[in-house]
């Protein structure tokens, strides 16, 4: 036990804010900051989802008037999406969903809200820096709004922003780059804060192997961010210099585009891809590790039995994070980099499937012999596992470089990462929202609406993303405004229309969630103190917790998975309960 944990209730003590703006707006309270991240990412999810539907509209009914927005956005073109704007659409859809929705939702919202509560701290280690990490998102938001509003002149190089395209074209690419620099700095501040807080401010008795999996997931994510983000930020600045200052980091010697000599030196387009994926592959794990942590906690609670293989799961996450830094080349199998180097990236990619597989088997073992109660968060949790299996298995198909020759940059890839990012990360986020809603707002979400929302989302999500595997097997390329220009893809139009109908259904299903969220905020039932019978420290305080979180410093006596001790014993034993109970599951 470190000195810090021995000192008792940790966290920088700052006075309870007295003015409304210091309480709700520029608050240093981690709970307010977490809710701010939650609200802004949910709003951005609506925008990113609308962009996705616009993409789907174009793929199902190309060059027809886009409903609702078409008339005022493209009045000159009869409401049609233009090819330029189509590129802006998928660029901004990916950027928004990754940087403004999934990462802020899982890492920003739940990281901020849960870390101090789960480790028994008063607040984060650096509350002011924490506030800064949220408010630095806003210049990023503003930049992306400008980039999106540029319409035809928007960033058109995809979220991967491969040069030379990104260096030469798309006037609003500058806004995109500057926006991401802000987001990156925000995440770096957040990650330093998370690491320090978890290392220093754990309550007495909260040893490393008593940390809930959620905290483990967030800690490892923070380490990933701290190491990977500086590389992306540097690369973004280099691309900005290429655009503004006439450098040639990513522009090869002698490149002449539209009669203009672009190059001032001898750069290398592949350098960007290496730098970008050196961040963006770990970013994949940044988006899934917190979800894995949350799901492990929720699964154990919903199964009313101890989590299977806790230590192995922690080690798996560490292995995923470590190996995550040496697999980035699998995004570049046909990029023109050395094809001998490909072999090592193939090997590391095959290996990184192992810890993910081990985690899945441990979740299944947790379900075995369980006593399951299907709350809506439990449905989303198990939904996560099933979608993660499909997303993981399609990942193995593309991990073999020869198979990747065929499916690289096709809809097979789109299917794969939507299974992992939507099917897994977003379902885990929904599970977490349902689970911690009573903690955050002191009210329960409606179970019936939650279950309808789950079933519809689950069906439509598979209807939307599974057929994309078929498209990919046919070689249907990504990022095509009108794939039916190619004769051999014309017979895929009906399938694309089916996908679009499912996507529209999925969008509509989210309205149920919006109604449930807002309605429960106002009229939800008041929960008991610990409505789900969970063991973690966050349930040791009021719903919602007061400023400073805990009335007195909690002491931790055991790991957080003490469920079903014996047939006659208590159903669960919270971490802060001093009662001594002999148990087979005692860790």
């Amino acid at each position: 036990m470190s000195d810090a944990t021995a000192r008792g209730l940790g966290g920088a003590a700052h006075d309870r804010p007295s003015v409304w703006w210091s309480r709700y707006l520029f608050s240093r309270d981690h709970k307010t900051i977490g809710l701010q991240f939650l609200m802004s990412s949910l709003i951005w999810m609506v925008i990113g989802g609308a962009l996705a539907l616009a993409i789907r509209w174009q793929l199902a009914w190309p060059w027809t008037e886009m409903p609702v927005f078409g008339r005022w956005m493209f009045a000159a073109d009869g409401g049609q999406i233009t090819p330029q704007f189509y590129n802006t659409l998928f660029t901004m859809h990916a950027t928004i969903m990754i940087f403004f929705v999934v990462i802020p939702l899982l890492v920003g919202a739940f990281g901020n809200y849960l870390i101090p509560l789960m480790i028994g701290a008063r607040d984060m280690a650096f509350p002011t820096m924490n506030m800064l990490s949220y408010w630095l998102m806003w210049p990023g938001f503003a930049c992306m709004v400008v980039a999106l509003a540029a319409g035809d002149q928007g960033p058109e190089a995809g979220w991967t922003a491969y040069p030379p395209l990104s260096v030469v074209y798309g006037n609003a690419q500058d806004w995109w780059l500057v926006g991401l620099v802000f987001v990156g700095v925000s995440s770096m501040l957040g990650s330093l804060n998370y690491i320090t807080t978890i290392m220093q401010l754990r309550a007495p008795g909260m040893t490393w192997f008593r940390l809930p999996m959620t905290v483990w997931g967030l800690l490892i994510t923070a380490v990933l961010q701290a190491f990977a983000l500086p590389v992306l930020t540097a690369a973004l600045l280099m691309q900005l210099l290429d655009r503004w200052a006439g450098t040639s980091f990513f522009v090869p010697a002698g490149l002449v585009i539209e009669g203009q000599d672009i190059a001032t030196g001898a750069g290398q387009p592949l350098l960007w891809q290496h730098l970008f994926w050196f961040y963006s592959h770990p970013a994949v794990y940044i988006m899934i590790l917190p979800a894995m942590g949350i799901v492990s906690d929720l699964l154990s609670c919903g199964c009313r039995r101890p989590l299977f293989g806790y230590r192995v799961m922690v080690l798996s996450m560490i292995a995923i994070a470590g190996m995550g830094f040496i697999v980035w080349g699998h995004h570049m199998f046909v990029s023109g980099m050395s094809y001998l180097l490909t072999v090592s990236f193939m090997a590391s990619t095959m290996l990184i499937a192992l810890p993910s597989g081990v985690k899945t088997f441990n979740w299944l073992a947790t379900l075995w012999s369980a006593r399951i109660r299907w709350t809506s968060w439990m449905l989303f949790t198990v939904g996560f596992i099933s979608m993660f299996v499909i997303g993981g298995l399609s990942g193995i198909v593309m991990a073999a470089p020869p198979a990747d020759i065929l499916i690289h940059d096709t809809y097979f890839i789109v299917a794969h990462f939507h299974y992992v990012l939507f099917g897994s990360s977003i379902l885990a986020a929904f599970a977490a929202i349902h689970f911690w809603f009573p903690k955050m707002f002191g009210r329960l979400m409606n179970e019936t609406l939650g279950k309808i929302h789950f079933v519809l989302t689950y069906l439509f999500l598979n209807g939307t993303f599974f057929p994309m595997h078929f498209l990919g097997a046919r070689g249907f390329p990504r990022r095509y405004a009108d794939p039916y220009v190619v004769e051999s893809f014309r017979d895929l139009l009906p399938l694309n229309q089916f996908i679009t109908w499912c996507a529209l259904g999925m969008g509509a299903a989210q309205l149920i969630f919006a109604v449930n969220f807002l309605g429960s905020l106002l009229w939800g039932r008041r929960p008991e103190r610990n409505p789900w019978g969970a063991n973690t420290l966050d349930w040791e305080t009021d719903n919602p917790p007061p400023h400073g979180n805990f009335a007195s410093c909690p002491t931790v006596y055991r790991w957080p998975y003490q469920y079903e001790i014996s047939p006659d014993g208590p159903d669960h034993l919270p971490q802060a309960n001093p009662e001594l109970v002999q148990s087979r599951a005692q860790q």
């Binding site: 090819p83 010697a253 046909v334 399951i372 198990v382 405004a481």
Partner: protein, 305 residues
């Protein structure tokens, strides 16, 4: 009555079990459709790999099918377990075991998948060698050397230029033959292409040949394949190159060697900027210089009638 988390004294009702069916039906239905597509059952046969004409592509197809088979077995086992455990768990009044660790199990389910993955990794080596590492060789004065490219492919926004080696068999000489957007190649022999870009990244992708190679400005790439029978295939660009990315297509036509050489001769007699008149109908590509122009939908195909 306030909603409460069901306690142990409230054993699950039978209805609770139905929830576990959701996790069985959906993934199994998806995989079943996939399987029928792979087996070529109409009308699903078009949801699987297109016909392959490249000898080297066979190993890619075999690998694709094999990994899918492995994935299918894992999917059925894990989803089956997920369903069965939740089916049983939904109606329990008490967890039947609180075992939280089993070293032997952890070892087994690490080692077994590791073996499968290593086997897959080893299995795909020959295919990668054949398609990307080992360029075909020819004998030059009794010495095996890498086969020189037959055609230089130059990708540009938004089209393809093809420079055929003339009678001297060498590229970048005065007798090169230039054709745009139609790549005519001989059948029955290894063909090597040299890929270059005029501007941004592109990717040379012919689904029917199982070849894909990004074209990087300043970094020439090589690509090879072998087609045994005359066929005409579509090629597309698979790396985002700007607003007209989707319009950047061409055709690859494989003809007997004699016809190929005749075409080269005819083309050489024409002005240098001309097209292979007798085998190259005018390619219908759009006016690419104008930024706000794109192909209008063909009626009944991509339009909304």
């Amino acid at each position: 009555m306030s909603w409460r988390y069901p306690t142990r004294n409230n054993p699950g009702e039978a209805m609770q079990r139905l929830w576990s069916l959701v996790f069985l039906v959906v993934p199994i239905a998806c995989s079943a459709i996939y399987l029928l597509a792979a087996l070529g059952v109409p009308p699903l046969q078009k949801f699987w790999l297109p016909p392959n004409y490249n000898a080297g592509g066979d190993s890619i197809d075999r690998l694709f099918v094999l990994t899918h088979l492995v994935a299918a077995v894992v999917l059925v086992l894990t989803m089956g377990a997920l369903f069965w455990f939740s089916w049983q768990g939904s109606a329990r009044a008490q967890a039947t075991s609180t075992t939280a660790h089993h070293t032997m199990l952890e070892i087994v389910w690490t080692i077994v998948p590791a073996c499968v993955l290593i086997a897959l990794a080893v299995y795909q080596f020959p295919s990668w060698n054949e398609n990307k590492l080992l360029r075909p060789q020819i004998l030059d004065k009794g010495r095996a050397i890498a086969q020189p490219p037959l055609v230089k492919v130059v990708a540009k926004r938004f089209g393809w230029e093809f420079y055929h080696a003339g009678p001297d068999g060498l590229l970048e000489t005065r007798d090169d033959v230039f054709v745009e957007n139609l790549l005519v190649l001989p059948v029955g022999e290894d063909v090597v292409l040299q890929l270059e870009s005029r501007d941004v990244l592109h990717s040379f992708f012919v689904p029917g040949l199982r070849v894909k190679q990004d074209v990087v400005p300043g970094l020439p790439q090589f690509l090879w394949f072998r087609v045994e029978k005359p066929v005409e295939l579509e090629m597309v660009c698979a790396e985002l190159c700007g607003w007209g990315h989707y319009t950047m297509q061409g055709r690859v036509r494989f003809v007997p060697r004699a016809e190929y050489e005749a075409g080269i001769l005819v083309q050489r007699a024409l002005p240098r900027s001309g097209h292979l008149a007798h085998i190259n109908p005018p390619v219908t590509h759009v006016a690419l210089r104008e930024r706000r122009r794109w192909p209008q939908p063909t009626r009944g195909v991509s339009g909304n009638e």
